[in-house]
Subunit: 293 residues, 6 copies
Amino acid sequence: MRFDEAYSGKVFIMSRPTYEDADAILYGMPMDWTVSFRPGSRFGPNRIREASLGLEEYSPYLDRHLEEAAYFDAGDIPLPFGNAQRSLDMIQDYIEQILAKGKFPLGLGGEHLVSWPIIQAIYHQYPDLAVIHIDAHADLREEYEGEALSHSTPIRKVCEKIGPKNVYSFGIRSGDRDEFRYAKESGMHMSTFEVAAPLKEILPSLAGRPVYVTIDIDVLDPAFAPGTGTAEAGGISSKELLEAIHLIARSDLQVVGADLVEVAPNYDPAEQTAIAASKFVREMLLGWVKPSK
Amino acid sequence: MRFDEAYSGKVFIMSRPTYEDADAILYGMPMDWTVSFRPGSRFGPNRIREASLGLEEYSPYLDRHLEEAAYFDAGDIPLPFGNAQRSLDMIQDYIEQILAKGKFPLGLGGEHLVSWPIIQAIYHQYPDLAVIHIDAHADLREEYEGEALSHSTPIRKVCEKIGPKNVYSFGIRSGDRDEFRYAKESGMHMSTFEVAAPLKEILPSLAGRPVYVTIDIDVLDPAFAPGTGTAEAGGISSKELLEAIHLIARSDLQVVGADLVEVAPNYDPAEQTAIAASKFVREMLLGWVKPSK
Amino acid sequence: MRFDEAYSGKVFIMSRPTYEDADAILYGMPMDWTVSFRPGSRFGPNRIREASLGLEEYSPYLDRHLEEAAYFDAGDIPLPFGNAQRSLDMIQDYIEQILAKGKFPLGLGGEHLVSWPIIQAIYHQYPDLAVIHIDAHADLREEYEGEALSHSTPIRKVCEKIGPKNVYSFGIRSGDRDEFRYAKESGMHMSTFEVAAPLKEILPSLAGRPVYVTIDIDVLDPAFAPGTGTAEAGGISSKELLEAIHLIARSDLQVVGADLVEVAPNYDPAEQTAIAASKFVREMLLGWVKPSK
Amino acid sequence: MRFDEAYSGKVFIMSRPTYEDADAILYGMPMDWTVSFRPGSRFGPNRIREASLGLEEYSPYLDRHLEEAAYFDAGDIPLPFGNAQRSLDMIQDYIEQILAKGKFPLGLGGEHLVSWPIIQAIYHQYPDLAVIHIDAHADLREEYEGEALSHSTPIRKVCEKIGPKNVYSFGIRSGDRDEFRYAKESGMHMSTFEVAAPLKEILPSLAGRPVYVTIDIDVLDPAFAPGTGTAEAGGISSKELLEAIHLIARSDLQVVGADLVEVAPNYDPAEQTAIAASKFVREMLLGWVKPSK
Amino acid sequence: MRFDEAYSGKVFIMSRPTYEDADAILYGMPMDWTVSFRPGSRFGPNRIREASLGLEEYSPYLDRHLEEAAYFDAGDIPLPFGNAQRSLDMIQDYIEQILAKGKFPLGLGGEHLVSWPIIQAIYHQYPDLAVIHIDAHADLREEYEGEALSHSTPIRKVCEKIGPKNVYSFGIRSGDRDEFRYAKESGMHMSTFEVAAPLKEILPSLAGRPVYVTIDIDVLDPAFAPGTGTAEAGGISSKELLEAIHLIARSDLQVVGADLVEVAPNYDPAEQTAIAASKFVREMLLGWVKPSK
Amino acid sequence: MRFDEAYSGKVFIMSRPTYEDADAILYGMPMDWTVSFRPGSRFGPNRIREASLGLEEYSPYLDRHLEEAAYFDAGDIPLPFGNAQRSLDMIQDYIEQILAKGKFPLGLGGEHLVSWPIIQAIYHQYPDLAVIHIDAHADLREEYEGEALSHSTPIRKVCEKIGPKNVYSFGIRSGDRDEFRYAKESGMHMSTFEVAAPLKEILPSLAGRPVYVTIDIDVLDPAFAPGTGTAEAGGISSKELLEAIHLIARSDLQVVGADLVEVAPNYDPAEQTAIAASKFVREMLLGWVKPSK
């Protein structure tokens, strides 16, 4: 090893050395400036990478090894602190470049609002896009405290952009009355409280379609993911979230991008949230990214 | 806003401004002086209030909004440190005043012994009272270390006061041999280990009766509620406790008062216990308190 | 005690029952929306109040008892999340009302930007105002990341408003080059690294003048105050900060208002920051508020 | 009580005063020197003992009391820091002495490699030994980073010693590809992801056989046991592990020894891992140790 | 090593195997039942022992090695939970036995009230006893909340027993007005805020006298000892407390017993309080216990 | 920004984009395999980088800006877990390459043993090398538990390699008797307990000489650096360590390399150790690295 070749900063285990080698790009979005209750998800991507050092490279769930998944950990997008609009623009621009190279974007949040520019970019490329949204919160507000750019609004925006009937939410257990009314009346799909069982029923109807999957770590009960900004009791277990990831992996969807958001390590001195998140990322890489050849 | 109208201290979200406006009184009992292993529940009420700031005001479980529940957060009863008997007297006196005004008392502990004076006060008003007790511990000791006023004795005292056959315990997974023998021989009901399934079976038999419900947060597994004094592995999930609250809400019981006790925030740096407790309180307010008109 | 008289929420110990009884108003400003690195000071005021329960009511430093200080804990100003300008307007309006009644405003932050509207309000009343600023950070930026309303800018704004020569900073050990250049060239006073010794020298020159004192808890070394957003190694001890408070108490200044900001309890599982802050508040109340008669 | 009779150091509750009185010997192995990711299990035995102070002495699961189980807590074996081979030799020698006296060895780890010398000692005495292995990790590596003495290798060594068909692993959810291939091809039994259900099926086939049971606390999901070195999301609950212990207790196996390993208290500020572990130890003592009478 | 000789529970490093071998007896008093604000010191002795594993056996301050100090760690006195009077009786009885054998009692608390029965026992043997008291709190109350047996009263009781002029308090920075008035008027010595400097002045006047030294860990600033029940900002550093211990070691006092109390490990996830306390104990053993021959 | 240019992993703030641009190379050595008491320093370098995000780029102590210091953060050397000898060989080889390019090596540990291969490499280039060693521990053992490659031995090895009279230790407060005897008899310099004052006296005698400086973070009191493996009470403050760094910066030494070791973030939930360490690194870069032209 020559010293100029040293491992530069912490990356997710088994990252390929350059983006050209990769079918998927793993990238961080260290943004939490619209978060209302407990910010801190800006540190999520770095801690997920750190925790990945404790992972096995092989998944007995999928019988696949990270060597079979060609991905490049590109680090964090250097988002401008406190400037939500410019941050979103940078994210959208960044995703468009990934898509232009035919690669799979796998994003690490940061707050949930980051999914909004990503999905806009993906939708430009896939006009028949469906979105699978796994979360404790409906995120269907039109605005939050007078602000349309909020971590409570991204799925509403997505509904308005790609049509509510193309949006499928699972595990929702929190929101205001208007959000649940919108869910019922708009034509979108919303499964409350549960994830794996309703997902199993819905997946066949999405066969063949391009799908973006966004997972908010707070769909887990705080017992499994205390390190998040808006922990909400009554959630699912890590086992059920793994099952959901594997259901999608074994389905006939064409997953075209994904993200995992809202890991806020400061609230979790035992680091279990980052440890769990790094395993979910491994399974997403192994199950959802199709080798280019 | 005039400065003399500022929000005075932390209260549970959506508290009505005065007790006259309210159908229910939310009050804290910051007492933990008889606790044997790890005290600290005296800080429970304040942290449950603080965590309530992170709650939605709407419940998708019950399709109700906190605006529909008229309650006043009266703060903590100023209990005299270390004096168990006088603390209990103050609590009983306090509850009697709430009942005299026809309001629903919803108490936050503090240690479990606080339920004893509350139930005495309620029983005076409702001689056909039944008690539903959801807890990891039987709390059926006659005394603990020679002391009859202990957090291990309240349910025994309740049995002796209102008759064992009017007491229904659920989720019990800890106690000494005599407590379990008493449970078997006295005629009370005790379901071990499980809560929702046996509760579902029992509820119809209580239809129409006035019922007081006391919940010890340690019925949850420590994974879901690490912040409690006598954490006991092998408990139920937050999901199951929510289900139990909703089963009672949808039953034909006449709930006439309730408490949630033993939240001890110091043992839980991730604050998940207070976060979960504040959600349980919201569901109890929405599901158990009947509007006065 | 009647139940409608119960202690309403947590307040700082020995608060008078109403604001009319009080010479000083203690109030919280739970705002942290412009904070760049680690937000969380919005929870500061509540935890300082909670920690006050562990305080003695008597100060052996000043030989005074909290009974001798008539203050009312008015709770937190209900600031609108994420809206910096409107929050600042509300604070300024609030302080003007306190001043109109001839009372002493003692504020608990929240981020340091909250001092800016307070000082504007005070300056309207006291045109010959001087400001004593005790902090690790110069807070002299003109803007931060393009934003003039930032926790890095309040002292610059104060300098521009009341004239740099009326601003006295102590303990500064962090800032950018322009801030230190401004400090040198503008005519303001800045003591780097130390607090008590230079303060002792400066105080006689301020004799008789109306002075506002703003203390950022991060002037302490992180050993003494780990619970703050921008902890900076190399700070002073709690002992030195107490000495500074007592130097001011014993000086001939006319202290006309004060604040203590940037306590962010989430970063401090041992709660030592809130515990220390509650003691500083006690000493400020005892040493700086002059009885009205 | 005379002062020379004082309670010497912390022991597991209800330990008999001398080893002669005991049917089982409880002993600690404070070794973690081959651990790759997060060491710290050397402190496990002491904290499990400390947490035992919070346990009831009676088990409502088994309807037995610790008075009915005669065990002596012998403290920790004084293993030489950093010397894996000599530590293993000391453990093996220690177990042989316990077996020579006809007593049941119940060990507390420490890292999982400690099970290897124990099982060697047991196998000498019981040539038809079967091993039940409950763990998140296969521990079937031939070596780890070039080192055969590693916490990733003990079950492979056991397979090679006593024959793979006598080894039964449950709950496995992590390992490299070769480990899972070995599990399939060698003739050993491996149940992935689940514990109680497959154990129930297997137990009848082991009726009457001498069996050693080794439990790695990380078979639990990190929600239930954050305090362990290689936490792995997607595990079982404390309830399921209790069920597994009780299934074995009620089976026709002849349990001849057992251990519980990998409790690393430093990663768990809420201490829930040690609290849960102490309960598992109580149930193992009550359910698995047969009175010598 | 034979298995019946294994190390029985955790003891302070280098403890002699039996009390007969020892000049000093190290013993724990796991009592915290009169503590008002944050209990937990009952776990102090065990954690101080655990932390002693990280200590060197040699002190460069005193140029002595623990081999030169013959002490026996006798474990914790099994105090009856919640029964203050009986606990105190047991402690007094225990100390009398130690003194009867001519050994030096070195106690680990537990709350500060434990010093009261110890000093009574010592005073019976040494009627010209002086007491050195190093603490943040005066502990001079006559009663606390109506209770004379409180952790706030022991030094008052000592004053009344042995005469105020024989009591020397150092480092006091908290108490009520009456306590400081008593300190002034009674004739006792009280140095506020500082320890080493005033101790240096006082020590010569105590030359040759039998002296008991009681140290409350909260004399340290919470930065140095966050793990204590009534943390009080503005304290001394670990360095100053070490200096005080060494001043006494090098003086002409006849130290006849000592204690270190109020370590409450639950409030200190970094474990620095127990780590520091174990070092103070080492220095007390090396500096204060005179070899018997 | 193009996506292939994204910021790759976390690096210390203001790192130059390539090593060619740099006068100094910042590199991590994530090794802790010989650590006896509490391992975990392998995570130190990553957390120091993460904490650097909270730093100002300008130092008011030195009136310099990080733009004036040309350094490249090369990431962590990928050391082979558990293999001490091979890890040391890789480090030595790595440093030799840095020196061959005429650059200044600034290393982040990892355990203190990593300094041994670095100093060997430096000594080859600078035969008149002196070493300044700032630490709580003497690190002068010949072996530890029979192992010559231990974190307790590096300074002894350095003494034997470059001659004891060229080694200057400061702040030492822990070690065994032989280490202190060696310090006295060998001719090396050792200042116990203090750093800045004795350093000030020694520095003139080293004027003009090439000097390597190794700092163990545990020279700080645990109050200032709880996150380290062998925390030792009675240490210096962050302020004194900063003073020492600045004394060296302003001296006439030719600093030719440096390291900061033993940051173990797991023991410090408040993250103050990494926060302080990142500031020390900034001051070392600004004060010790001479611009190449």
